[in-house]
Symmetry: C2
Subunit: 481 residues, 2 copies
């Protein structure tokens, strides 16, 4: 049963920790900065993996697996890459009881080890494109960790593609950030802003980084996925050339893109409440719990509960019955609210006599009566669809309510304490750094979505919110996880 | 297209390497002893994972994820365990640019890190059983590596369960080795012998190890899966006690069980031939290739091919069309034989006119005519089922043909050069070690399957094949991968 969860209002950070622990989603391990993803948390990851993997395959990608150890000399081949990643790597110096001739880095990301293979596999334009994804664990040494959001080891997928020309690579970059957007919005019920990162925020080794950014319930931003245009940087670092259709040699064009178990943290922070986890039905491994009220003819109540569960499962709605007598219905209500089961069905002898049951929604706590008739499965399905839709709309409304367009520095400073701020920026690293120093807010994204750009007149020229210099566009600022 | 594959007869080891490379299943990487699992190989692993994961869940298990780093002090807690595993570990000594206070071992297996969590999660019999599985990468430093069969890093699943009494733990051990048997026989079409390992071959830290052993086409044995009864060893090492139903404290009973990407090597060695990979249809991500013979009205032939592919896919048979004009039909035949596509359909204008197509089986190369009628999908399905069945029976026949019951030392020595030898053993470590030293053969398994025991009169007392001392039972000897 739930330990007491601190309320969001009282202490948002503590609420998050309490929730993750109480709902048994994850635990810190005895290894510094590493987490244990417990079965309840891992079940969410499995649903995410299944949906994403299907979308990757539909867009022509195949899975493969590359070594997790990267020789030090490989990491060093791409200058920006080593500068960005080497300081946060775990380093293997001994193996099989002996000191290694060359140190091995545990992959923080796999561009280098993968391009050392691509070099062998790609000779001609006929070998392109190469569209490969990998599901793997990666390690980035973190000083300050937070379950799911920032841990030394985490799970992710990383796509690595190779193309014959820059246009095709750029198409891939955009295709995949849009796949992430679709996943975030349609599965996670989490609205995101699609766009580009500023130079200072882009991936170490990329020409350009695209991202999806979401707003959490405390108004902070969370980067939920990235897609990088790597240009010819890694092909040059690994001397990966191919013969073009025209018969000349050129370096291969590359992309990479990834999302991680961080998405579980985003999911929690986007929707959950003071009673526990709130899961969008599409990512709930268990969508409906039936709690029989065991009075009168208990076996008859149980039989009805099982019958309904069977019908719902047959209809593709993942349902289970908790008919244990160790715990009271009230205890069970609280427990499954904590676990984020989207729909609870209460069923007692009187309900059965009246041919109905009580259906409680996790998102709104609204209770309705549903008839135990031939349309029941469809009615429950509709409720699940409504929950999915409502979570998205609620989160979108929240984001809109907590986004301000700042025209003064005072508005800006107040705005980033509360949510996203849309403001003019002069385009310089210096101003960006200054704003970060003074407010802890960073440029989260330079939106590329037309609708979003129009909504906030992002293309309107103006003066920079901090420097007062001319600015050609507005960008989105926020504090971030 | 295929590089030339060495024939099995000429050089079995080279045949294996050639096949793995030519069919693009895996590649050595630039990291010592580590492999790249290429998309064709990984697709097999994905099919294996899906089938096994389903079977684990049906038997009540859930997935979770534990850190891959294990503090040195944890490994040291179970005496036999550290002795067995420490010498083959990769060791992280630096992280985030600094030397670590305590070295971290990259997991060679996860008993220790998992039991350090179980200790926190288990207080009472109500918390038991705990039935958790993990899909992960592990590292065991190997001096002599072979793609899939023995590499420094490999992928696997490891189940770790906790129970309130030894009977339930033993039931779990047997349940899971039987799950592996079912998987090996029904999906991999690979007959296996189920049984116990001798003391010297059991897992470091286990009271007993059960295994499934398969025969490869060179007569060698391959251990394809293990299930360990860990007794209270790890619970004691991690001081994991629970309150029993009777209200007293006791140590928790444990099991662990695993299979790895080694199964892909087993699959190759069990069925494949000099033309390339032979895949059982249940593990083929692509089961049927349609090769249109592009003569006459090419577009009409193509349209028919696509129509058939659509019908087969709709029926749940994974089918694709190769209608490229860059390569000849003959080239395609060889290429898809190399890749192990179970069924090839050839379809030319004359076939279409006659309302039929040619269906070629990968396992027997047999060609039959199949009518392009309403029963076609079912006929193809039947052929796929026949292939699955035939591969199993062929492998079983091969195993029987290459198993000898030895009653003299000469017979024994000749037998282990060819396959499995069933012989009396006096039950001592000394004799076992002597036999290994003299013949390189080891005790692969002490069968527990009644049918197998009867077939070879394993319970018949006799005299030890090597020492001449009294022996209460026969066991299975072989050279092994």
């Amino acid at each position: 049963m739930a330990d007491k969860i601190t309320s969001r209002q009282q202490d948002y950070s503590q609420w998050y920790i309490d929730l993750v622990r109480s709902a048994k989603l994850a635990d810190y391990s005895d290894v510094r900065g590493c987490m244990v993803i417990r079965p309840n948390g891992y079940a969410i990851w499995e649903k995410m993996q299944a949906a994403l993997d299907g979308m990757f395959k539909e867009t022509g990608h195949v899975n493969a697996y590359f070594p997790m150890f990267i020789p030090e000399s490989f990491i060093a081949k791409e200058a920006e890459h080593i500068e960005g990643f080497a300081p946060e790597c775990a380093v293997v110096t001994h193996g099989g009881g002996e000191e290694l001739a060359e140190k091995l880095y545990v992959r923080p990301t796999s561009e280098t080890i993968i391009w050392s293979s691509y070099k062998k596999w790609i000779q001609s334009y006929r070998d392109l494109p190469l569209l490969i994804n990998q599901w793997a664990n990666v390690v980035r040494w973190e000083m300050r960790t937070r379950l799911f959001l920032r841990t030394t080891e985490f799970l992710w997928q990383e796509g690595h593609t190779a193309h014959a020309d820059p246009e095709e690579a750029q198409e891939e970059v955009i295709r995949m950030i849009n796949v992430y957007r679709t996943f975030a919005e349609e599965y996670m019920a989490m609205p995101v802003i699609v766009g580009k990162k500023s130079e200072s925020e882009k991936f170490a080794g990329a020409d350009a980084t695209y991202c999806i950014e979401a707003m959490m319930q405390d108004g902070k931003a969370l980067q939920a996925g990235t897609s990088h245009n790597l240009g010819q940087n890694f092909a040059k670092a690994f001397d990966c050339q191919f013969q073009t259709k025209e018969g000349v040699l050129d370096y291969v064009w590359a992309t990479s893109w990834g999302v991680s178990t961080r998405l579980i943290g985003a999911l929690i922070m986007a929707h959950s409440d003071d009673k526990g986890l709130v899961l969008p039905p599409k990512l709930a491994s268990r969508q409906v719990v039936i709690i029989p009220i065991l009075k009168g003819d208990k076996e008859e109540v149980r039989a009805h509960a099982r019958f309904i569960a069977k019908a719902l499962n047959k209809h593709g709605i993942s349902t289970f019955v908790d008919d244990s007598e160790n715990n009271s219905p009230g205890w069970k209500f609280a427990e499954y609210e904590l676990q984020g089961i989207p729909v609870r069905i209460e069923l007692g002898p009187r309900d059965i006599a009246e041919g109905k049951c009580i259906v409680a929604r996790r998102d709104t706590f609204e209770k309705t009566e549903v008839l135990l008739d031939a349309e029941m499965t469809e009615n429950i399905e509709e409720i699940l669809n409504n929950i999915q839709q409502n979570l998205y709309e609620r989160a979108l409304q929240f984001r809109q309510d907590n986004t301000v367009e700042a025209t003064t520095w005072e508005e800006f400073k107040a705005g980033v304490e509360k949510g996203f701020v849309i403001a003019h920026w002069d385009g310089t690293d210096e101003t960006e750094a200054l704003i970060k120093e003074e407010t802890k807010a960073t440029i989260r994204v330079m939106p590329t979505d037309e609708e979003y750009r129009k909504q906030y007149n992002m293309d309107e020229p103006g003066t920079c919110i901090r420097s007062g210099n001319p600015a050609t566009q507005k960008v989105v600022f926020a504090k971030a996880y």
